[in-house]
């Protein structure tokens, strides 16, 4: 009856290997729009200004300000922020669809900002691909030709790219619609075409720019599940832009929260909910069902004298919701154990504080 540690699933399916070198490494990235934009990142004084002050002083808008992060191989890295926070500009800077103003973007050891146009095109053709909010499909081409468009650009022969496109069309669940035109498909299906087009070139990294924002909630959920499934199947590194926190928590291994072009916090979902960096993040995560996100690590307490230490054991990364039954069913507090070390204990009171809310909480 007592489940052991192994039987409770961990929240994240992909193992995170913290030792591996990052695929993408972004340092001090700036994007400033406006006249003589390049002086802004160089000037310490201008860097210190708020967005509004900068606009008044120089007529420039800083869309991305001094952002840095690493994306590990196979990771789903989510950038989240409200509209105008600079997240779409950020993702476009990563592939230089928008030219960054300053900083480094190192991809597999190469600074993308140094790539000449030919090298950049080559990277875009083979290493990256992107899924767009408004799909960006070609209305005059059938699904299969839309999917094969990137391969055509590379110069692949017609027979070969049709074969490859067909494979990917089946992978994203569009079999039977190969010869339809985009305007004959629903929004969700059109985005599947966009997804297939991005996958067709077998890139190392997929960029998603709010891909599901234009879709209905139910379809959005389907598509999110589709992305999770594809991530399991093909294991690509993904950088995912969204303004929807629940989407971020559902998909992201790690989440970067942006506000006014600056990064506010970067961490796993439970870190954001358990230890928000400031009031902005706290306000953001307020309505998140904490039990779904927080793990036992966040709620355990040190054992005190008189605590019975003969209860069941659970790992520290078990999500509260999944530990609830075990804890409530046990007569004594549950021990949180990692590699044989006792980290703390979790009793009914701790669980209820998360699930039902602490007394005095709203």
């Amino acid at each position: 009856m007592t489940p052991t540690q192994a039987e409770v699933p961990q929240r994240h399916g992909t193992p995170r290997d913290s030792d591996s070198t990052p695929v993408i490494s972004v340092r001090n990235l700036w994007k400033v729009f406006g006249p003589k934009a390049e002086r802004v990142p160089d000037s310490e004084e201008l860097c210190g200004l708020t967005r509004r002050e900068l606009m008044d002083r120089t007529g420039c808008t800083a869309a991305v300000r001094d952002v840095h992060f690493d994306v590990s191989p196979g990771e789903v890295f989510v950038v989240m922020g409200l509209s105008g926070s600079g997240k779409s500009t950020l993702v476009r800077c990563l592939t230089r669809l928008i030219e960054p103003t300053a900083g480094e973007i190192v991809f597999e050891g190469e600074d993308i900002r140094d790539a000449d146009p030919a090298r950049l095109r080559d990277l875009r053709r083979r290493k990256f691909s992107m899924v767009f909010q408004h799909f960006g499909l070609l209305p005059h081409r059938q699904v299969v030709d839309n999917v094969g468009f990137g391969l055509e650009i590379r110069g692949m022969s017609r027979a070969e790219r049709t074969r490859r496109a067909q494979e990917v069309v089946e992978l994203v669940g569009l079999a039977g619609y190969e010869n339809s035109y985009p305007d004959q498909l629903s929004g969700g299906m059109q985005q599947r075409v966009g997804l297939a087009r991005a996958l067709a070139g077998d890139p190392d990294v997929l960029f998603f720019d709010e891909p599901f924002s234009a879709l209905d909630p139910l379809i959005r959920r389907d598509m999110q599940n589709e992305v999770i499934r594809l991530h399991h199947e093909v294991g690509k590194t993904m950088v995912f832009i969204t303004h929807d926190l629940s989407e971020a928590l559902k998909l992201g291994d790690r989440i970067l929260i942006m506000r006014d072009g600056k990064m506010v916090q970067c961490g796993t979902g439970d870190e954001l909910v358990g230890a928000p960096a400031d009031d902005y993040v706290r306000e953001f995560v307020k309505d998140v069902p904490r039990g779904d996100v927080l793990t036992l690590r966040w709620i355990m307490r040190a054992p005190e004298d008189g605590d019975a230490l003969d209860g069941p054991e659970l790992g520290p990364d078990v999500v509260v919701r999944e530990a609830t039954r075990v804890v409530l069913a046990a007569d004594t507090p549950v021990k949180v154990v990692e590699n044989g070390t006792l980290l703390g204990i979790v009793g009914d009171e701790e669980i209820l504080a998360v699930v039902a809310g602490r007394e005095g909480d709203v």
Binding site: T95, L97, R124, G136, L138, H140, R154
Partner: protein, 666 residues
């Protein structure tokens, strides 16, 4: 004009200081009324003084100088290097092209008494091409239409018009599409090109002719070049628009997949804008047809010439017959190119069998067309249109009979309408404009321009007034101005009544819109013919033709404006208990104010071009000066100055109403 005087809402930004703002807000309609009242008072006192009138045969120094320039160009045409190596070369190339196409379908070529391809071949090819780019319905229309041209006894004239139109469109597109793509890709090019295109499209067809004859002589080459210049702007503009309206995401997606600029252009931008570009080709062809018919004034061959000659001898029957041919040609060309622009979509929808059969069918059709062309090349029966054009003569005599009947039976009515409007509205207004001292009218125009359009419009008006005086044709310009304004008021009356009706009822819109669309593709010329029959050769004929010519565009703009009033606003007003009249006057018209001003702008421009053409049927003034300039050497300079005066009027109207529209719109 009444519309522009409505008090536009504040849009801010332009006005510098707040106090000036509040003064103007209160004052605009009052100010306009005050200006007009002051004018009337001064008119009563100063009537007939300093009117700058100029008799028909009199010339000013400027006109004589133009004549001298013309003479010296004529004398040095074959020695001046600029002409020898530039203008003459262009003329030669264009001439060669036009002659080639003419010998193909309309004119006897060197060793043959007949063109290379006779009527059967042309009809066959027209049908085949229409079917290939459009559908079988327009192919039938093309075959029927072309055959009808032959039955009218105007085969050769029609083919001349077609030959000129097609060569001009070919040359125009050769420049226009690349330029349009460039303007679509580059913001800078677009910024440079747009004002030129705006300017070129505001000008009546007429004014292109005079300066071109200076460089390219009177004849087919000048006509074709004028047509090229007139037909290019819509194609440039629409191509640029098509490229620009490709969604940014799509271009970005192609870029993110590593497409080169060339790949993005060829695989994304061009295919996605194809349909719109074909619409540009349609506009271009219609503009070319309009110009080719008018170019008859500078001796372009074809249907236009038949109409002009008939109009000058007041032979309504012949003019009507030839006008009908132009209409038929216009309908065929318009329908076929429109069908071509929608074919892409429909072909995509029709799946399966038909598509697999299309290729072999196209091949078979091509073979048939070639056989027909061969037959018409070889046998006289297939080359020369059979019959005497009996349909044409019966059309002409029917038109004559109708005219006579109308003149016998309805002259009371038509004359009453004519005289009422002429004496009640036109004459007083015209004498107000022409009999006031020039400085008074000029001051009034500048004041009105400033009040309605803002300071910059006022400055433009001042410059235009100054230059108008300089042309030496002030009095004629004022006569044209009077006709134009009267016609525009009538256009706006029609426009508001029918436009509101259409805007409020989808059914009425569906019924009326096709007629308006058809009316808009007609060359302005053909409108003169029926009204000539009704009202004789007077100013009034030109005004009525102008109203009919300009009304469709005004109606459509107003209807769209009324339709675009948000449904929720109308709903809210209805919920508040508005009756229909209140709904129209308090909600729909005020909210469509931008559309009303735009309609006034377009109405003025269209009316001006027609009033000027009316010079052919007795409207006199600037239009007559231009026409006379083509036919009489010593009046050439005056005609050129008149063309300039028309341009100035056009610019003045356009600037004031555009500025007013910007204020009202927003």
């Amino acid at each position: 004009m009444t519309v522009v005087m409505e008090k536009p809402e504040r849009t801010g930004a332009e006005e510098p200081a707040a106090p000036a703002r509040s003064v103007r807000r209160v004052g605009r309609p009052v100010l306009v009324a005050a200006i007009l009242a002051g004018w009337l008072v001064l008119f009563a006192v100063l009537r007939g003084r300093q009117t700058l009138s100029l008799a028909a045969a009199d010339l000013t120094d400027l006109h004589r100088w133009f004549n001298d320039v013309n003479d010296s160009i004529g004398a040095n045409r074959d020695s001046n290097p600029l002409f020898l190596y530039f203008f003459n070369e262009i003329r030669l190339v264009i001439d060669t092209l036009v002659t080639f196409v003419q010998e193909l379908i309309s004119q006897p070529s060197a060793d043959r008494p007949l063109p290379q391809i006779g009527w059967l071949g042309v009809v066959g090819i027209a049908g085949y091409v229409s079917w290939a780019v459009g559908n079988w319905r327009v192919a039938l229309l093309a075959v029927a239409g072309f055959t009808f041209l032959g039955l009218q006894g105007l085969w050769q004239e029609s083919m001349d018009t077609l030959a000129l139109t097609l060569s001009a469109v070919l040359v125009a597109l050769l420049f226009a599409i690349p330029l349009g793509v460039w303007a679509g890709l580059s913001d800078r090019v677009n910024r440079i090109v747009t004002p030129f295109l705006d300017f070129m499209q505001t000008m009546p067809t007429f004014v292109y002719l005079a300066p071109l004859t200076l460089f390219f002589l009177i004849g087919g080459a000048s006509a074709t070049i004028a047509t090229v210049i007139y037909a290019a702007p819509p194609a440039i503009r629409i191509t640029a628009h098509a490229i620009r309206s490709v969604p940014e995401t799509t271009v970005e997606a192609a870029e993110s997949l590593g497409a080169t600029r060339r790949q993005a252009l060829l695989k994304v931008l061009l295919p996605m804008s194809k349909r719109t570009v074909v619409m540009g080709v349609n506009q271009s062809i219609m503009a070319a047809l309009a110009m080719v018919t008018i170019a008859a004034l500078i001796d372009a061959p074809g249907l236009g010439k038949t109409v002009v000659q008939a109009l000058q001898s007041l032979d309504v029957g012949t003019a009507f017959n030839a006008g009908l041919s132009i209409v038929v040609l216009a309908i065929v060309l318009d329908r076929v190119t429109t069908a071509a622009s929608v074919r892409e979509e429909t072909a995509r929808r029709s799946k399966g069998r038909f598509r697999t059969w299309r290729r072999p069918l196209l091949g078979a059709g091509a073979v048939i067309a070639v056989v027909l062309a061969y037959l018409s090349h070889t046998y006289v029966w297939a080359a020369e249109f059979p019959g005497e054009g009996s349909v044409g003569s019966s059309v002409a005599s029917a038109a004559d009979t109708t005219t006579t009947w109308v003149q016998d039976n309805l002259s009371g009515l038509t004359n009453a309408v004519r005289d009422a409007l002429t004496n009640g509205l036109l004459n007083p207004f015209q004498s107000l404009l022409t009999d006031s001292p020039w400085w008074l009218v000029g001051a009034v125009l500048i004041a009105l321009g400033t009040v309605l359009g803002g300071r910059r419009a006022g400055v433009t008006t001042a410059v235009c007034v100054g230059l108008l005086v300089g042309t030496g044709l002030w009095s004629d310009a004022m006569t044209t101005l009077a006709s134009t304004l009267v016609a525009t008021v009538l256009v706006m009356l029609f426009g508001v009544v029918v436009g509101v009706w259409m805007g409020r009822s989808a059914l009425v819109d569906r019924l009326i819109r096709p007629t308006l669309d058809a009316a808009q593709v007609m060359p302005p010329f053909v409108y003169l013919v029926p009204f000539l029959a009704l009202f004789g050769a007077t100013r009034f004929t030109a005004i009525v033709a102008a109203v009919v010519y300009a009304a469709p565009v005004a109606i459509k703009i107003i209807a769209d404006g009324v339709r675009n009033v948000p449904a929720t606003t109308v709903e809210a007003a209805t919920a508040a208990g508005c009756n229909t009249w209140q709904l129209i006057t308090k909600v729909q018209l005020p909210m469509a104010r931008g559309a009303l001003t735009l309609a006034t702008n377009q109405g003025l421009i269209y009316v001006l071009s027609m009033v000027v053409v009316g010079g052919l049927v007795g409207a006199g003034a600037l239009g007559y000066d231009v026409v006379a300039g083509f036919s009489q050497g010593q009046l050439y300079g005056k005609g050129l100055a008149a063309g300039l005066a028309i341009v100035l009027l056009g610019v003045m109207f356009d600037r004031i109403t555009q500025a007013a529209a910007r204020r009202a719109g927003a």
